[in-house]
Protein backbone atom coordinates (compact mmCIF):
# COMPACT_ATOMS: atom_id res chain seq x y z
CA UNK A 1 0.00 0.00 0.00
CA UNK A 2 1.30 3.48 -0.85
CA UNK A 3 1.47 5.75 2.16
CA UNK A 4 -1.31 8.30 2.38
CA UNK A 5 -0.82 9.74 5.88
CA UNK A 6 2.95 10.03 5.61
CA UNK A 7 3.41 10.42 1.86
CA UNK A 8 4.83 13.93 2.23
CA UNK A 9 6.74 13.74 5.48
CA UNK A 10 10.13 13.84 3.83
CA UNK A 11 9.33 16.92 1.73
CA UNK A 12 11.15 20.05 2.89
CA UNK A 13 8.57 22.67 4.01
CA UNK A 14 5.91 19.96 3.55
CA UNK A 15 4.34 20.95 6.86
CA UNK A 16 3.29 24.44 5.76
CA UNK A 17 -0.24 25.52 4.95
CA UNK A 18 0.62 26.32 1.32
CA UNK A 19 2.11 22.89 0.74
CA UNK A 20 -0.92 21.25 2.35
CA UNK A 21 -3.46 23.22 0.32
CA UNK A 22 -1.33 22.57 -2.78
CA UNK A 23 -1.85 18.82 -2.37
CA UNK A 24 -5.60 19.17 -1.99
CA UNK A 25 -5.75 19.89 1.73
CA UNK A 26 -8.89 21.18 3.48
CA UNK A 27 -11.09 19.78 0.70
CA UNK A 28 -12.44 17.20 3.17
CA UNK A 29 -13.51 20.01 5.48
CA UNK A 30 -15.16 21.87 2.62
CA UNK A 31 -17.08 18.74 1.76
CA UNK A 32 -18.06 18.12 5.38
CA UNK A 33 -19.41 21.63 5.80
CA UNK A 34 -21.73 20.99 2.83
CA UNK A 35 -23.25 18.01 4.66
CA UNK A 36 -25.32 17.80 7.84
CA UNK A 37 -23.28 16.82 10.95
CA UNK A 38 -25.20 13.53 11.17
CA UNK A 39 -24.20 12.71 7.59
CA UNK A 40 -20.54 13.26 8.46
CA UNK A 41 -20.86 10.86 11.39
CA UNK A 42 -22.57 8.34 9.10
CA UNK A 43 -19.67 8.53 6.67
CA UNK A 44 -17.12 7.93 9.41
CA UNK A 45 -19.22 5.03 10.70
CA UNK A 46 -19.48 3.54 7.22
CA UNK A 47 -15.71 3.68 6.82
CA UNK A 48 -15.30 1.48 9.89
CA UNK A 49 -12.53 3.76 11.27
CA UNK A 50 -11.34 2.44 14.63
CA UNK A 51 -9.44 4.50 17.19
CA UNK A 52 -5.68 4.39 16.82
CA UNK A 53 -4.97 5.33 20.46
CA UNK A 54 -5.05 1.82 21.84
CA UNK A 55 -8.52 0.39 22.22
CA UNK A 56 -9.68 0.34 18.59
CA UNK A 57 -13.13 1.67 19.42
CA UNK A 58 -15.18 2.78 16.36
CA UNK A 59 -14.78 6.54 15.99
CA UNK A 60 -18.15 7.25 14.39
CA UNK A 61 -19.90 5.56 17.28
CA UNK A 62 -17.90 7.60 19.80
CA UNK A 63 -19.02 10.79 18.08
CA UNK A 64 -22.61 9.61 18.06
CA UNK A 65 -22.56 9.24 21.86
CA UNK A 66 -22.06 13.00 22.25
CA UNK A 67 -25.57 14.32 23.01
CA UNK A 68 -26.63 16.72 20.26
CA UNK A 69 -29.36 18.48 22.24
CA UNK A 70 -27.25 19.39 25.27
CA UNK A 71 -27.39 23.13 26.02
CA UNK A 72 -23.78 23.07 27.23
CA UNK A 73 -20.81 23.75 24.98
CA UNK A 74 -19.15 20.66 23.51
CA UNK A 75 -15.46 19.94 23.13
CA UNK A 76 -13.16 17.82 21.06
CA UNK A 77 -9.88 16.77 22.67
CA UNK A 78 -7.15 15.32 20.56
CA UNK A 79 -5.04 12.87 22.51
CA UNK A 80 -1.45 13.67 21.51
CA UNK A 81 0.06 12.40 24.73
CA UNK A 82 1.87 9.56 22.93
CA UNK A 83 3.44 8.06 26.05
CA UNK A 84 3.03 4.33 25.58
CA UNK A 85 6.61 2.98 25.55
CA UNK A 86 7.57 2.10 22.00
CA UNK A 87 5.14 4.58 20.39
CA UNK A 88 6.46 7.44 18.28
CA UNK A 89 4.06 7.92 15.37
CA UNK A 90 1.79 10.80 16.37
CA UNK A 91 4.59 13.33 16.65
CA UNK A 92 5.66 12.55 13.08
CA UNK A 93 2.16 13.43 11.89
CA UNK A 94 2.08 16.60 13.99
CA UNK A 95 5.52 17.82 13.00
CA UNK A 96 5.31 16.94 9.33
CA UNK A 97 1.62 17.15 8.48
CA UNK A 98 -0.05 19.35 11.12
CA UNK A 99 -2.81 20.66 8.87
CA UNK A 100 -4.07 17.13 8.28
CA UNK A 101 -4.65 16.92 12.03
CA UNK A 102 -6.29 20.37 12.14
CA UNK A 103 -8.59 19.37 9.31
CA UNK A 104 -9.52 16.19 11.19
CA UNK A 105 -10.19 18.22 14.35
CA UNK A 106 -12.36 20.71 12.49
CA UNK A 107 -14.42 17.97 10.84
CA UNK A 108 -14.78 16.24 14.23
CA UNK A 109 -15.90 19.49 15.87
CA UNK A 110 -18.44 20.09 13.13
CA UNK A 111 -19.78 16.53 13.47
CA UNK A 112 -20.30 16.71 17.25
CA UNK A 113 -21.23 20.40 17.42
CA UNK A 114 -18.09 21.65 19.19
CA UNK A 115 -16.56 25.07 18.70
CA UNK A 116 -13.23 24.40 20.38
CA UNK A 117 -10.69 21.61 19.99
CA UNK A 118 -7.74 21.15 22.34
CA UNK A 119 -4.72 19.17 21.20
CA UNK A 120 -3.17 17.75 24.37
CA UNK A 121 0.55 17.24 23.64
CA UNK A 122 2.88 15.45 26.01
CA UNK A 123 5.30 17.70 27.88
CA UNK A 124 8.44 16.44 26.14
CA UNK A 125 7.12 17.59 22.76
CA UNK A 126 7.84 21.31 23.01
CA UNK A 127 9.13 21.33 19.44
CA UNK A 128 5.76 19.91 18.35
CA UNK A 129 3.96 22.67 20.21
CA UNK A 130 6.00 25.28 18.37
CA UNK A 131 5.12 23.76 14.99
CA UNK A 132 1.43 23.47 15.88
CA UNK A 133 1.14 27.01 17.19
CA UNK A 134 2.84 28.51 14.14
CA UNK A 135 0.61 26.52 11.77
CA UNK A 136 -2.56 27.31 13.77
CA UNK A 137 -1.77 31.00 13.28
CA UNK A 138 -1.19 30.43 9.56
CA UNK A 139 -4.51 28.59 9.22
CA UNK A 140 -6.37 31.28 11.15
CA UNK A 141 -4.87 34.03 9.01
CA UNK A 142 -6.21 32.33 5.88
CA UNK A 143 -9.66 31.63 7.34
CA UNK A 144 -9.35 27.83 7.68
CA UNK A 145 -10.21 28.22 11.32
CA UNK A 146 -11.78 30.94 13.40
CA UNK A 147 -15.13 32.55 12.62
CA UNK A 148 -17.42 31.55 9.77
CA UNK A 149 -15.12 29.02 8.09
CA UNK A 150 -15.66 28.96 4.28
CA UNK A 151 -18.68 31.23 4.77
CA UNK A 152 -20.63 28.30 6.22
CA UNK A 153 -21.44 29.93 9.55
CA UNK A 154 -19.30 27.32 11.37
CA UNK A 155 -16.91 28.81 13.99
CA UNK A 156 -14.07 26.76 15.43
CA UNK A 157 -10.83 27.32 17.33
CA UNK A 158 -7.95 24.92 17.91
CA UNK A 159 -5.48 25.25 20.80
CA UNK A 160 -2.35 23.25 21.53
CA UNK A 161 -2.03 22.47 25.25
CA UNK A 162 1.14 20.88 26.58
CA UNK A 163 1.25 18.54 29.57
CA UNK A 164 4.29 18.16 31.80
CA UNK A 165 5.44 14.57 31.88
CA UNK A 166 2.91 11.95 32.97
CA UNK A 167 2.07 8.72 31.13
CA UNK A 168 -1.30 8.53 32.81
CA UNK A 169 -2.34 11.80 31.12
CA UNK A 170 -2.91 9.66 28.01
CA UNK A 171 -5.83 7.90 29.69
CA UNK A 172 -8.81 9.83 28.41
CA UNK A 173 -10.43 10.95 31.67
CA UNK A 174 -7.03 11.71 33.22
CA UNK A 175 -6.28 13.80 30.14
CA UNK A 176 -9.37 15.88 30.87
CA UNK A 177 -8.31 16.37 34.50
CA UNK A 178 -4.87 17.43 33.36
CA UNK A 179 -6.36 19.86 30.85
CA UNK A 180 -8.39 21.35 33.69
CA UNK A 181 -5.14 22.11 35.48
CA UNK A 182 -5.12 19.21 37.93
CA UNK A 183 -3.18 15.99 38.49
CA UNK A 184 -3.66 13.52 35.65
CA UNK A 185 -5.77 11.04 37.59
CA UNK A 186 -8.70 9.21 35.96
CA UNK A 187 -12.34 9.78 36.78
CA UNK A 188 -14.82 7.17 37.83
CA UNK A 189 -17.08 6.16 34.94
CA UNK A 190 -19.98 6.43 34.23
CA UNK A 191 -20.67 9.20 33.43
CA UNK A 192 -18.55 8.84 30.31
CA UNK A 193 -16.68 11.82 28.85
CA UNK A 194 -19.03 11.88 25.84
CA UNK A 195 -21.70 13.13 28.26
CA UNK A 196 -19.72 14.70 31.14
CA UNK A 197 -16.23 15.51 29.93
CA UNK A 198 -14.05 18.60 29.84
CA UNK A 199 -15.39 21.27 32.26
CA UNK A 200 -18.38 18.98 32.80
CA UNK A 201 -19.43 19.32 29.15
CA UNK A 202 -19.93 16.66 26.44
CA UNK A 203 -16.52 15.79 24.99
CA UNK A 204 -15.10 13.51 22.31
CA UNK A 205 -11.50 12.32 22.77
CA UNK A 206 -9.59 10.96 19.79
CA UNK A 207 -6.03 10.02 19.05
CA UNK A 208 -3.94 12.06 16.58
CA UNK A 209 -3.71 9.29 13.99
CA UNK A 210 -7.46 8.64 14.27
CA UNK A 211 -8.29 12.27 13.50
CA UNK A 212 -5.76 12.38 10.66
CA UNK A 213 -7.72 9.62 8.91
CA UNK A 214 -10.96 11.58 8.96
CA UNK A 215 -10.18 14.05 6.11
CA UNK A 216 -9.17 11.07 3.92
CA UNK A 217 -12.55 9.47 4.50
CA UNK A 218 -14.34 12.67 3.51
CA UNK A 219 -12.31 13.18 0.32
CA UNK A 220 -11.97 9.59 -0.89
CA UNK A 221 -15.15 8.08 0.51
CA UNK A 222 -15.78 5.45 3.18
CA UNK A 223 -15.63 2.53 0.73
CA UNK A 224 -12.11 3.47 -0.36
CA UNK A 225 -11.06 3.66 3.27
CA UNK A 226 -12.52 0.30 4.23
CA UNK A 227 -11.03 -1.37 1.15
CA UNK A 228 -7.46 -0.54 2.20
CA UNK A 229 -7.35 -3.16 4.93
CA UNK A 230 -8.94 -6.43 6.01
CA UNK A 231 -12.61 -6.49 7.01
CA UNK A 232 -13.30 -4.28 10.06
CA UNK A 233 -9.63 -3.19 10.05
CA UNK A 234 -9.70 -0.68 7.22
CA UNK A 235 -7.58 2.32 6.42
CA UNK A 236 -3.88 3.05 6.55
CA UNK A 237 -1.95 2.26 9.74
CA UNK A 238 1.28 3.60 11.16
CA UNK A 239 3.59 1.06 12.81
CA UNK A 240 6.41 2.02 15.18
CA UNK A 241 9.24 -0.50 15.09
CA UNK A 242 11.98 -0.29 17.70
CA UNK A 243 14.40 -2.47 19.63
CA UNK A 244 16.72 -5.03 18.08
CA UNK A 245 16.03 -4.39 14.38
CA UNK A 246 18.32 -2.97 11.75
CA UNK A 247 16.06 -0.08 10.74
CA UNK A 248 13.85 1.14 13.57
CA UNK A 249 11.28 3.71 12.47
CA UNK A 250 7.68 4.61 11.63
CA UNK A 251 6.22 2.73 8.67
CA UNK A 252 2.83 3.13 7.05
CA UNK A 253 0.99 0.25 5.45
CA UNK A 254 -2.38 -1.52 5.60
CA UNK A 255 -3.42 -3.92 8.33
CA UNK A 256 -3.02 -6.85 5.95
CA UNK A 257 0.64 -6.84 6.99
CA UNK A 258 1.99 -9.48 9.37
CA UNK A 259 4.38 -8.99 12.28
CA UNK A 260 6.98 -11.00 10.37
CA UNK A 261 6.79 -8.65 7.38
CA UNK A 262 7.03 -5.64 9.65
CA UNK A 263 10.20 -6.96 11.26
CA UNK A 264 11.89 -8.34 8.14
CA UNK A 265 10.67 -6.15 5.30
CA UNK A 266 10.18 -2.81 7.05
CA UNK A 267 12.48 -3.09 10.04
CA UNK A 268 15.30 -4.64 8.00
CA UNK A 269 15.40 -7.84 10.07
CA UNK A 270 16.98 -8.58 13.42
CA UNK A 271 20.17 -6.62 13.97
CA UNK A 272 23.43 -8.37 13.24
CA UNK A 273 21.60 -11.38 11.78
CA UNK A 274 20.73 -12.70 15.25
CA UNK A 275 17.59 -14.66 16.00
CA UNK A 276 14.30 -13.38 17.33
CA UNK A 277 13.33 -14.15 20.91
CA UNK A 278 10.08 -12.26 21.48
CA UNK A 279 8.01 -9.34 20.23
CA UNK A 280 5.83 -6.88 22.09
CA UNK A 281 3.35 -6.05 19.33
CA UNK A 282 1.37 -3.08 20.62
CA UNK A 283 3.25 -1.06 23.19
CA UNK A 284 4.63 -2.08 26.55
CA UNK A 285 1.24 -2.97 27.99
CA UNK A 286 0.44 -5.73 25.51
CA UNK A 287 1.45 -9.35 26.15
CA UNK A 288 4.59 -10.62 24.38
CA UNK A 289 4.29 -12.98 21.44
CA UNK A 290 6.81 -15.63 20.42
CA UNK A 291 8.64 -16.30 17.15
CA UNK A 292 6.15 -19.00 16.14
CA UNK A 293 3.31 -16.46 16.33
CA UNK A 294 4.74 -13.72 14.19
CA UNK A 295 2.79 -14.70 11.11
CA UNK A 296 -0.18 -13.13 12.86
CA UNK A 297 -1.79 -10.26 11.01
CA UNK A 298 -0.85 -6.96 12.64
CA UNK A 299 -4.46 -5.81 12.81
CA UNK A 300 -6.79 -5.17 15.75
CA UNK A 301 -8.46 -8.56 15.31
CA UNK A 302 -5.39 -10.47 14.09
CA UNK A 303 -3.40 -9.78 17.24
CA UNK A 304 -6.28 -10.56 19.56
CA UNK A 305 -6.35 -13.98 17.88
CA UNK A 306 -2.63 -14.32 18.66
CA UNK A 307 -3.32 -13.62 22.33
CA UNK A 308 -2.12 -10.04 22.35
CA UNK A 309 -3.31 -6.64 21.14
CA UNK A 310 -2.53 -4.06 18.47
CA UNK A 311 -2.63 -1.29 21.08
CA UNK A 312 -0.74 1.68 19.71
CA UNK A 313 1.04 -0.46 17.06
CA UNK A 314 4.35 -0.10 18.87
CA UNK A 315 6.35 -3.16 17.91
CA UNK A 316 9.31 -3.74 20.22
CA UNK A 317 11.62 -6.48 18.99
CA UNK A 318 13.92 -8.51 21.25
CA UNK A 319 16.71 -10.76 19.98
CA UNK A 320 18.10 -13.86 21.67
CA UNK A 321 20.41 -11.87 23.94
CA UNK A 322 17.52 -10.37 25.90
CA UNK A 323 16.82 -11.45 29.46
CA UNK A 324 13.08 -11.68 29.97
CA UNK A 325 13.25 -11.14 33.72
CA UNK A 326 15.24 -7.98 33.09
CA UNK A 327 12.60 -6.96 30.55
CA UNK A 328 9.80 -7.40 33.07
CA UNK A 329 11.81 -5.44 35.64
CA UNK A 330 12.49 -2.63 33.18
CA UNK A 331 8.81 -2.27 32.32
CA UNK A 332 7.71 -2.57 35.93
CA UNK A 333 10.02 0.33 36.77
CA UNK A 334 8.10 2.31 34.17
CA UNK A 335 4.73 1.35 35.60
CA UNK A 336 5.68 2.01 39.19
CA UNK A 337 7.01 5.42 38.17
CA UNK A 338 3.91 6.30 36.16
CA UNK A 339 1.15 4.93 38.40
CA UNK A 340 -1.01 7.94 39.22
CA UNK A 341 -1.51 6.67 42.75
CA UNK A 342 -5.28 7.06 42.84
CA UNK A 343 -6.12 3.45 43.57
CA UNK A 344 -4.36 1.13 45.98
CA UNK A 345 -3.85 -2.11 44.01
CA UNK A 346 -1.94 -0.28 41.30
CA UNK A 347 -0.04 2.21 43.46
CA UNK A 348 1.16 -0.39 45.99
CA UNK A 349 1.16 -3.43 43.73
CA UNK A 350 3.50 -2.00 41.09
CA UNK A 351 5.99 -1.15 43.84
CA UNK A 352 5.92 -4.69 45.23
CA UNK A 353 6.14 -6.27 41.80
CA UNK A 354 9.21 -4.17 41.05
CA UNK A 355 10.87 -5.18 44.31
CA UNK A 356 10.24 -8.87 43.70
CA UNK A 357 11.41 -8.66 40.08
CA UNK A 358 14.56 -6.84 41.16
CA UNK A 359 15.51 -9.51 43.60
CA UNK A 360 14.88 -12.30 41.11
CA UNK A 361 16.91 -10.51 38.46
CA UNK A 362 19.75 -9.96 40.92
CA UNK A 363 19.72 -13.66 41.76
CA UNK A 364 18.35 -13.14 45.25
CA UNK A 365 14.86 -14.48 44.60
CA UNK A 366 13.23 -17.73 45.66
CA UNK A 367 10.91 -20.08 43.75
CA UNK A 368 8.08 -18.78 45.92
CA UNK A 369 8.74 -15.30 44.53
CA UNK A 370 7.69 -16.41 41.06
CA UNK A 371 4.28 -17.47 42.34
CA UNK A 372 4.14 -14.38 44.49
CA UNK A 373 4.54 -12.27 41.34
CA UNK A 374 1.59 -14.00 39.73
CA UNK A 375 -0.39 -13.64 42.95
CA UNK A 376 0.24 -9.91 43.36
CA UNK A 377 -0.45 -9.40 39.65
CA UNK A 378 -3.79 -11.16 39.94
CA UNK A 379 -4.74 -8.69 42.64
CA UNK A 380 -4.06 -5.74 40.35
CA UNK A 381 -5.44 -6.84 36.96
CA UNK A 382 -9.16 -6.12 36.68
CA UNK A 383 -9.28 -4.53 40.13
CA UNK A 384 -8.29 -0.97 39.35
CA UNK A 385 -9.97 2.29 38.43
CA UNK A 386 -8.45 2.47 34.94
CA UNK A 387 -6.89 0.02 32.47
CA UNK A 388 -3.38 0.99 33.62
CA UNK A 389 -3.54 -1.82 36.19
CA UNK A 390 -4.11 -4.48 33.51
CA UNK A 391 -1.41 -2.91 31.38
CA UNK A 392 1.12 -2.98 34.20
CA UNK A 393 0.74 -6.70 34.88
CA UNK A 394 0.65 -7.84 31.25
CA UNK A 395 4.44 -7.95 30.77
CA UNK A 396 4.95 -9.84 34.05
CA UNK A 397 2.24 -12.38 33.46
CA UNK A 398 3.13 -13.00 29.83
CA UNK A 399 6.85 -13.41 30.51
CA UNK A 400 6.12 -15.85 33.35
CA UNK A 401 3.75 -17.73 31.07
CA UNK A 402 6.22 -18.08 28.20
CA UNK A 403 9.58 -17.91 29.95
CA UNK A 404 9.03 -19.45 33.36
CA UNK A 405 12.16 -21.55 32.89
CA UNK A 406 14.19 -18.36 32.67
CA UNK A 407 12.78 -17.08 35.96
CA UNK A 408 13.54 -20.42 37.59
CA UNK A 409 17.08 -20.42 36.25
CA UNK A 410 17.68 -17.03 37.85
CA UNK A 411 16.57 -18.41 41.19
CA UNK A 412 18.46 -21.70 40.85
CA UNK A 413 21.73 -20.22 39.73
CA UNK A 414 21.51 -17.10 41.87
CA UNK A 415 22.36 -14.77 38.98
CA UNK A 416 21.09 -13.38 35.71
CA UNK A 417 21.45 -16.33 33.35
CA UNK A 418 21.71 -14.39 30.11
CA UNK A 419 25.07 -13.93 28.35
CA UNK A 420 27.21 -11.97 30.78
CA UNK A 421 27.95 -9.20 28.33
CA UNK A 422 24.56 -9.06 26.66
CA UNK A 423 23.92 -5.48 27.72
CA UNK A 424 27.12 -4.43 25.99
CA UNK A 425 26.01 -5.87 22.66
Amino acid sequence: MDPVLTSHVREPRGATLDAYVGRGGYEGLRKALGLAPAQVIDMVKASGLRGRGGAGFPTGMKWQFVPKDSPRPKYLCCNADESEPGTFKDHVLMERNPHLLFEGCLIGCYAIGAKVAYIYIRGEFSHVQRVLEAEIEAARAKGYLGKNIFGSGFDCEIYAHRGAGAYEAGEESALLESLEGKRAQPRLRPPFPAVVGLYGCPTAINNVETLCNVPLILTNGPEWFASLGPEKNGGPKLYCISGHVEKPGVYETSMHVTIRELIDKYGGGIRGGRTLKAVIPGGSSTPVILPDQIDAQASFDGLVKAGSMLGSAAIIVMDDTTCMVWLAENLMHFYRHESCGKCTPCREGTDWLLKILRRIERGEGTMRDIDLLADVASNIGGKTLCPFGDAAVAPVLSTIQHFRAEYEAHVREGRCTCPADWRAM
Partner: protein
Protein backbone atom coordinates in the same frame (compact mmCIF):
# COMPACT_ATOMS: atom_id res chain seq x y z
CA UNK B 1 5.14 3.39 56.57
CA UNK B 2 3.98 -0.15 56.25
CA UNK B 3 2.79 -2.17 59.19
CA UNK B 4 3.60 -5.52 57.71
CA UNK B 5 6.68 -6.74 59.59
CA UNK B 6 8.61 -7.82 56.49
CA UNK B 7 7.60 -4.93 54.29
CA UNK B 8 9.23 -1.57 54.50
CA UNK B 9 8.95 1.33 52.14
CA UNK B 10 12.19 2.46 50.61
CA UNK B 11 12.32 5.96 52.06
CA UNK B 12 11.56 4.64 55.54
CA UNK B 13 10.35 8.08 56.54
CA UNK B 14 6.97 9.06 57.89
CA UNK B 15 5.28 12.14 56.43
CA UNK B 16 5.48 13.90 59.78
CA UNK B 17 9.28 13.58 59.71
CA UNK B 18 9.65 15.14 56.29
CA UNK B 19 11.57 18.41 56.21
CA UNK B 20 9.87 21.33 54.59
CA UNK B 21 11.59 22.81 51.60
CA UNK B 22 13.38 26.11 52.17
CA UNK B 23 11.29 28.98 50.94
CA UNK B 24 13.65 30.51 48.31
CA UNK B 25 13.71 34.06 46.98
CA UNK B 26 10.45 36.02 46.60
CA UNK B 27 8.91 35.46 43.17
CA UNK B 28 6.77 37.45 40.73
CA UNK B 29 6.35 37.11 36.96
CA UNK B 30 8.12 39.73 34.88
CA UNK B 31 5.54 41.98 33.13
CA UNK B 32 6.34 40.33 29.78
CA UNK B 33 5.86 36.85 31.22
CA UNK B 34 2.65 37.91 32.92
CA UNK B 35 1.35 39.12 29.55
CA UNK B 36 2.29 35.82 27.93
CA UNK B 37 0.38 33.96 30.62
CA UNK B 38 -2.70 36.16 30.20
CA UNK B 39 -2.56 35.50 26.46
CA UNK B 40 -2.47 31.71 27.08
CA UNK B 41 -5.33 32.01 29.58
CA UNK B 42 -7.59 33.27 26.78
CA UNK B 43 -7.52 29.73 25.34
CA UNK B 44 -9.75 28.52 28.15
CA UNK B 45 -13.20 29.65 29.34
CA UNK B 46 -12.80 32.51 31.84
CA UNK B 47 -14.27 30.44 34.68
CA UNK B 48 -11.68 27.69 34.03
CA UNK B 49 -8.49 29.72 34.35
CA UNK B 50 -7.03 26.85 36.31
CA UNK B 51 -6.33 25.16 32.97
CA UNK B 52 -3.45 27.63 32.65
CA UNK B 53 -1.63 26.28 35.73
CA UNK B 54 0.74 24.04 33.76
CA UNK B 55 1.64 26.77 31.23
CA UNK B 56 2.16 29.17 34.17
CA UNK B 57 4.54 26.74 35.84
CA UNK B 58 6.51 26.36 32.63
CA UNK B 59 6.94 30.13 32.57
CA UNK B 60 8.07 30.07 36.22
CA UNK B 61 10.65 27.46 35.36
CA UNK B 62 11.87 29.50 32.39
CA UNK B 63 12.19 32.56 34.60
CA UNK B 64 13.95 31.05 37.61
CA UNK B 65 15.02 27.54 36.63
CA UNK B 66 12.85 25.68 39.14
CA UNK B 67 9.56 26.03 40.99
CA UNK B 68 9.96 27.47 44.49
CA UNK B 69 7.38 27.83 47.24
CA UNK B 70 6.97 31.60 46.67
CA UNK B 71 6.46 30.88 42.95
CA UNK B 72 3.70 28.43 43.82
CA UNK B 73 1.97 31.09 45.91
CA UNK B 74 2.37 33.66 43.15
CA UNK B 75 0.93 31.33 40.50
CA UNK B 76 -2.03 30.57 42.78
CA UNK B 77 -2.69 34.27 43.20
CA UNK B 78 -2.43 35.00 39.48
CA UNK B 79 -4.59 32.04 38.46
CA UNK B 80 -7.08 32.46 41.28
CA UNK B 81 -6.80 29.10 43.01
CA UNK B 82 -5.18 27.86 46.23
CA UNK B 83 -1.43 27.25 46.63
CA UNK B 84 -2.28 23.66 47.56
CA UNK B 85 -3.91 23.18 44.16
CA UNK B 86 -0.79 24.45 42.41
CA UNK B 87 1.50 22.38 44.63
CA UNK B 88 -0.59 19.33 43.73
CA UNK B 89 0.32 19.86 40.09
CA UNK B 90 3.99 20.64 40.73
CA UNK B 91 4.47 17.47 42.77
CA UNK B 92 2.69 15.27 40.24
CA UNK B 93 4.33 16.05 36.91
CA UNK B 94 7.84 14.85 36.17
CA UNK B 95 8.97 17.93 34.28
CA UNK B 96 8.77 20.41 37.15
CA UNK B 97 11.93 20.77 39.21
CA UNK B 98 11.34 21.46 42.86
CA UNK B 99 14.95 22.32 43.68
CA UNK B 100 17.52 24.37 41.81
CA UNK B 101 19.14 22.31 39.03
CA UNK B 102 22.31 22.57 36.94
CA UNK B 103 22.58 24.68 33.80
CA UNK B 104 22.06 21.54 31.72
CA UNK B 105 19.65 18.94 33.00
CA UNK B 106 20.65 15.77 31.18
CA UNK B 107 17.96 13.11 31.24
CA UNK B 108 18.63 9.65 29.84
CA UNK B 109 15.64 7.59 28.72
CA UNK B 110 15.74 4.26 30.53
CA UNK B 111 12.60 2.55 29.18
CA UNK B 112 12.66 -0.66 27.16
CA UNK B 113 13.51 0.40 23.61
CA UNK B 114 16.35 2.63 24.81
CA UNK B 115 17.51 0.07 27.36
CA UNK B 116 17.67 -2.59 24.63
CA UNK B 117 20.15 -0.34 22.84
CA UNK B 118 22.42 0.50 25.72
CA UNK B 119 20.79 3.29 27.75
CA UNK B 120 22.17 1.86 30.99
CA UNK B 121 25.68 2.31 29.66
CA UNK B 122 24.94 5.89 28.58
CA UNK B 123 23.90 6.73 32.14
CA UNK B 124 26.90 4.90 33.59
CA UNK B 125 29.27 6.74 31.27
CA UNK B 126 27.84 10.19 32.10
CA UNK B 127 27.79 9.35 35.77
CA UNK B 128 31.44 8.29 35.65
CA UNK B 129 32.54 11.34 33.66
CA UNK B 130 30.83 13.76 36.04
CA UNK B 131 31.50 11.79 39.20
CA UNK B 132 27.85 12.06 40.30
CA UNK B 133 24.96 9.65 40.65
CA UNK B 134 21.57 9.89 39.04
CA UNK B 135 19.61 12.74 40.64
CA UNK B 136 22.69 14.78 41.53
CA UNK B 137 24.18 18.03 40.24
CA UNK B 138 27.93 18.31 39.70
CA UNK B 139 29.86 20.68 42.02
CA UNK B 140 30.20 23.36 39.33
CA UNK B 141 26.42 23.49 38.88
CA UNK B 142 26.73 22.79 35.16
CA UNK B 143 25.09 19.37 34.86
CA UNK B 144 22.27 17.56 36.61
CA UNK B 145 21.93 13.89 35.67
CA UNK B 146 18.50 12.25 35.70
CA UNK B 147 16.80 9.22 34.25
CA UNK B 148 13.43 9.53 32.56
CA UNK B 149 10.81 7.21 31.11
CA UNK B 150 10.09 6.76 27.37
CA UNK B 151 9.93 10.12 25.62
CA UNK B 152 8.41 8.88 22.39
CA UNK B 153 11.47 8.69 20.14
CA UNK B 154 12.31 5.01 20.54
CA UNK B 155 13.44 4.63 16.92
CA UNK B 156 16.40 6.88 17.75
CA UNK B 157 17.33 4.97 20.91
CA UNK B 158 19.07 5.61 23.18
CA UNK B 159 17.76 9.15 23.58
CA UNK B 160 18.98 11.89 25.88
CA UNK B 161 16.86 14.96 26.62
CA UNK B 162 18.48 18.21 27.78
CA UNK B 163 16.63 20.96 29.67
CA UNK B 164 13.22 19.37 29.10
CA UNK B 165 13.19 20.04 25.40
CA UNK B 166 16.28 19.45 23.32
CA UNK B 167 16.94 15.89 22.26
CA UNK B 168 20.07 14.03 21.44
CA UNK B 169 19.26 10.85 19.60
CA UNK B 170 21.10 7.61 18.87
CA UNK B 171 23.55 8.38 21.65
CA UNK B 172 26.35 5.82 21.38
CA UNK B 173 27.20 4.88 24.98
CA UNK B 174 30.93 5.30 24.36
CA UNK B 175 30.37 8.88 23.15
CA UNK B 176 28.30 10.01 26.12
CA UNK B 177 31.27 11.57 27.90
CA UNK B 178 32.15 13.54 24.80
CA UNK B 179 28.60 14.87 24.54
CA UNK B 180 29.08 16.62 27.87
CA UNK B 181 32.22 18.34 26.60
CA UNK B 182 30.48 19.60 23.48
CA UNK B 183 27.49 20.74 25.53
CA UNK B 184 29.82 22.79 27.69
CA UNK B 185 31.56 24.23 24.63
CA UNK B 186 28.66 24.92 22.28
CA UNK B 187 25.50 24.61 24.38
CA UNK B 188 22.35 23.16 22.84
CA UNK B 189 23.86 23.30 19.35
CA UNK B 190 25.77 20.17 20.38
CA UNK B 191 22.56 18.15 20.30
CA UNK B 192 21.37 16.32 17.20
CA UNK B 193 17.64 16.96 17.56
CA UNK B 194 17.25 15.01 14.33
CA UNK B 195 13.45 15.12 14.56
CA UNK B 196 13.85 18.34 12.56
CA UNK B 197 16.23 16.69 10.10
CA UNK B 198 13.99 17.16 7.09
CA UNK B 199 13.48 20.85 7.76
CA UNK B 200 17.23 21.34 7.90
CA UNK B 201 18.15 20.07 4.44
Amino acid sequence: MSFHPEMRYESGMHVSQRELRPDGEPFAFTPANRDRLEQIATHYPAEHRRSAVIPALYIVQEQQGYVSAPAIRHVAEVIGCTPAEVDDVVTYYAMFFRQPVGKYVVQVCRTLSCALRGAERVTAEISKTLGISVGETDPTGTFTLMEMECLGACDRAPVVMVNNEHWHECQAPEDAGRLLESLKASGEAALTGCHLEVERD
